[in-house]
């Protein structure tokens, strides 16, 4: 390992309406790039990125899910064992904020109890130059902040395009993940060889039923 300290793994999932910029945020974080017309995500995409915060080395194991409603039934398999979630909306698109609320609710009900959730209002660059008459912004900072306060979420407004606040989201999540817990979970998965796996059927019945154990 290139890190002096044991690497802390964080299993992280991105949720949010289609086209709010989930993949773009991840791309900015992982490769520091931005693509004007990124293809819609189908199913989910898996990416990893390492980050050193202070004296801690953190490896983010990221599932970037597809936003379209039709794929929503796949989401649980990706968030079930996640330690952190980014719930993303588009600050120019109120419907996406409604959807974000629903995701938060679903995570509270279905995901792990200690999951760290960050609420992220993306496309901040579009509203930077807003003037009084013609507001591009459709979701106020206060609305986002209120939801975050109510639900105990981290809250950021970001721009995947300019990079504004993107790294900060991930750093804040990293700081929220306690060291012992995180490295502990790493070892737990290593017992079955492999990090970042997501258990799809719960309990691995899916595997066992088909081919038994090797």
């Amino acid at each position: 390992m290139s890190f002096p300290n044991p690497v802390t793994s964080v299993k992280l999932v991105l949720l949010g309406e289609a086209a709010v910029g989930k993949s773009s945020l991840v791309l900015r974080f992982v490769s520091n790039e931005f693509q004007e017309n990124k293809e819609p995500t189908i199913g989910a995409a898996f990416l990893t990125q390492k980050l050193t915060i202070g004296d801690r080395a953190i490896k983010y194991e990221i599932w970037d899910t597809a936003g379209q409603e039709r794929f929503a039934s796949l989401a649980p398999m990706y968030y079930r064992n996640a330690q952190a979630a980014l719930v993303v909306y588009d600050v120019t698109k109120p419907a996406s904020f409604v959807k974000a609320r629903q995701w938060v609710k679903e995570l509270r009900e279905q995901a792990s109890k200690d999951i760290t959730i960050a609420l992220v209002g993306n496309k901040y660059d579009l509203v930077e130059d807003d003037n009084e008459e013609d507001l591009v912004r459709k979701v106020n900072v206060e609305e986002g902040q209120n939801l975050a306060d109510e639900e105990g979420l981290l809250f950021f407004e970001t721009s995947a395009k300019t990079g504004y606040n993107v790294k900060d989201v991930f750093v804040a999540i990293g700081n929220k993940i306690p060291e012992a817990t995180a490295s502990g979970s790493d070892t737990a998965t290593n017992q079955t060889s492999g990090e970042g796996r997501i258990d799809l059927s719960g309990g691995g019945n899916f595997n066992n039923a088909t081919s038994g154990c090797c």
Partner: protein, 643 residues
């Protein structure tokens, strides 16, 4: 052990057994039980072991190298598995499929697939010699497989029959091509003494028919091993002659054109004479690839959109195109509206379902094929919005699902190409009124219209001859022509999606089923890979969901997808669901060696961006051939297992 850690591993080890769909995804349905049912009806632990036997005995009796060596007249005799790489990608590869399958069953020697993947690490290792059953032959398996093998071999037989008729033809042509090459070569050497013309130009001029089409497309893919074979032939014919570089290139050129020429003429024989097109013959021929300029016509025939009865073609298309336009006319959507986000208030967005569908289509069309310039064009995007939206509201059970925006592009691409080609050919004919046209009867009816004034301008446009899809100025195409292209695309897409409706309806059961079938298939074909995935905790749905949802379009370039669809459209039933599974298997196994070296994360990262950037048509054709073989071997077997 910390509390957190305990919790995590508990969850992982199965305290939470159920997969509950999200509130919007489903009403308390459980994916795990669904998937369990799936797996119960397919591979069980018991049948998996049987699967191994089948693998080894069937594959133990395959021998590609020898078969191909004979076919190609390579003469090198003992070409074993190791040499098959070159052989499989040789000019024989398009006809490889049926022959290989037909013959291989009766061969008594063992064969390892490895060479065909160009890398021993991707060896499929299907038990070439390792099982000790290599002499036993196909009929010698016990149990249920006896039946399945018999049925699969009879299935193969029917293919063999047609291969023996049709593919022999190709062989004969191939010889003719070679003779031609040799003659051309001699002439060009002779002529070279007298003048300094570029021999390749000369040969191009000598082939007016080919000239009138696009010689760069079509069978080029199978050329790489041409020089070698020619060298052999020629050196045995006239040993003293050594070839300089230019001659060599000229030969290549001629061979290429001859091959294309003969390919075209095969299609002409089916398409031109009589009033009815023999669709079965067309399927057989098209399976191995369709020349670019005939593709639109043939795709429409294969889809059943264009009638095989020529007398009915024109009226049918006219009616369908009208239907499309009428469908659009009743819609209240403004297809020029591309700012659905900021123009619409939140409440209307949420309440108006159709509006929401349009919005989703709108944002996805902007993100479709972002690497291809044509798809950034406003007119093209508008056409795609219309097609997708009309389809979505006419098919409410599935509606618009992301990925369908990908599936529409091959049709649109090919039909737009066809329009430009027809205009070009018409312009050519207008400029040479005396020359008899070679492509008569190969136009799709109703694409061109004499009364279309914008088209009349386009016909006279000096740039027309140089126009390609990349350089197209879309404003030169009339609204009438766009609507024809759109209508044909719409109906073709409709026909395609009819065969995979399950993939896009609520909870996407078709995709879940196909992913399960792929997993089962891999456990039969490549047990080691299957075990490795299992060991690493890889779930097929994590990477194969997209393979089904977008039919591998995200993994392969559009050109290659188009070639792949020649074959899919030639399969009966259309190859977009079942045959596709076998293609996915072949695709995955291409990387088997690589994947076995990797852990969970590396596997997922690899499969998200499989290294296909340098792939050529021959790679696709290889993959299709493998898929064909596996379909022949396992289709009936799996049907049997299920019952």
């Amino acid at each position: 052990m910390s509390k957190k850690k305990q919790e995590m591993s508990q969850v992982y080890l199965g305290t939470s057994n159920e997969f509950v769909f999200g509130e919007l995804g489903g009403k308390g349905k459980h994916l795990s039980s669904f998937l369990k049912n799936l797996s119960l009806t397919s591979t069980s632990r018991k049948s998996k072991n049987l699967g191994e036997d089948v693998n080894s005995s069937i594959y133990g009796n395959m021998q590609y190298g020898r078969v191909l060596g004979e076919e190609l007249g390579n003469g090198s005799g003992g070409v074993g598995g190791g040499g098959s790489d070159e052989l499989l990608s040789s000019p024989g590869s398009p006809k490889l499929r049926p022959k290989l399958v037909g013959r291989s069953i009766s061969m008594g020697t063992s064969f390892a697939f490895s060479g065909s993947h160009g890398d021993d690490s991707t060896s499929i290792n299907l038990g070439g010699g390792s099982s000790g059953s290599s002499q036993s032959g196909v009929g010698n398996n016990g149990g249920p497989y006896k039946h399945s093998n018999l049925s699969s071999s009879s299935h193969l037989k029917s293919h063999r029959t047609h291969s023996n008729t049709f593919y022999k033809d190709l062989d004969a042509d191939w010889d003719a091509d070679l003779n031609d090459v040799r003659n051309k070569k001699l002439t060009s050497v002779k002529q070279k003494d007298n003048n300094n013309n570029d021999p390749s130009n000369k040969s191009r001029n000598s082939l007016s028919l080919v000239d009138s089409f696009h010689p760069e497309i079509g069978m080029v893919s199978s050329l790489p091993s041409l020089p070698k074979r020619k060298d052999e032939k020629i050196s045995s014919a006239s040993k003293k002659q050594s070839l300089d570089h230019e001659d060599h290139r000229a030969q290549l050129e001629v061979a290429k054109q001859n091959q294309l020429n003969s390919k075209y003429s095969k299609f002409y024989k089916i398409l031109k004479p009589g009033n009815t097109i023999d669709i079965n013959e067309l399927r057989k021929l098209s399976w191995n690839g369709i020349p670019q300029d005939l593709r639109a016509l043939i795709w429409q025939l294969l889809l059943g959109y264009l009638p095989t009865n020529k007398l009915r073609q024109s009226s049918t298309l006219t009616r369908k195109r009208q239907e499309y336009n009428e469908g659009l006319r009743v819609l209240t959507i403004d297809f020029d509206d591309v700012k659905t986000t900021s123009n619409t208030s939140s409440s209307s967005l949420i309440n108006n379902k159709d509006r929401q569908i349009y919005h989703q289509i709108n944002i996805d069309v902007k993100r479709t094929n972002p690497s291809i310039k044509l798809y950034g064009d406003p007119q093209v995007q508008k056409s795609l919005r219309k097609i997708l939206y009309l389809w979505a509201i006419r098919h409410p059970a599935s509606g618009y699902v992301q990925g369908i925006n990908d599936l529409v592009t091959p049709f649109f691409h090919i039909f737009l190409h066809n329009y430009i080609w027809q205009v070009q050919k018409k312009a050519e004919a207008m400029n040479n009124p005396l020359k008899e046209s070679d492509y008569e009867g190969l136009f799709i009816p109703g694409i061109l219209d004499e009364n279309d004034e914008i088209e009349a301008q386009f016909l006279k446009d000096p740039q027309l001859i140089h126009t390609t899809l990349n350089s197209l100025d879309t404003s030169k195409i009339s609204p009438r022509a766009w609507s024809v292209i759109e209508a044909d695309t719409y109906w073709s897409l409709t026909r395609l999606l009819e065969t995979i409706t399950d993939n896009y309806i609520h909870e996407q059961p078709g995709i879940l089923r196909l992913v399960g079938e792929l997993r089962d298939l891999i456990s039969k074909i490549d047990l080691e890979l299957s075990k490795h995935f299992e060991h690493e905790g890889i779930e097929y749905i994590q990477f194969a969901f997209r393979w089904m949802n977008c039919l591998l379009m995200r993994e392969l370039s559009l050109d290659l997808v188009v070639r792949m669809w020649d074959t899919y459209l030639s399969e009966t039933p259309l190859g977009f669901s079942h045959f596709h599974i076998y293609v996915c298997a072949a695709f995955l196994i291409k990387f088997s060696g690589d994947l076995k070296e990797r852990d969970f994360q590396e596997i997922l990262l690899f499969l998200q961006k499989p290294p296909t950037a340098s792939w050529k048509e021959k790679d696709i054709e290889m993959m299709l051939s493998e898929a064909f073989i596996w379909q022949s071997l396992y289709k009936d077997a799996s049907a049997h297992l299920r019952s």
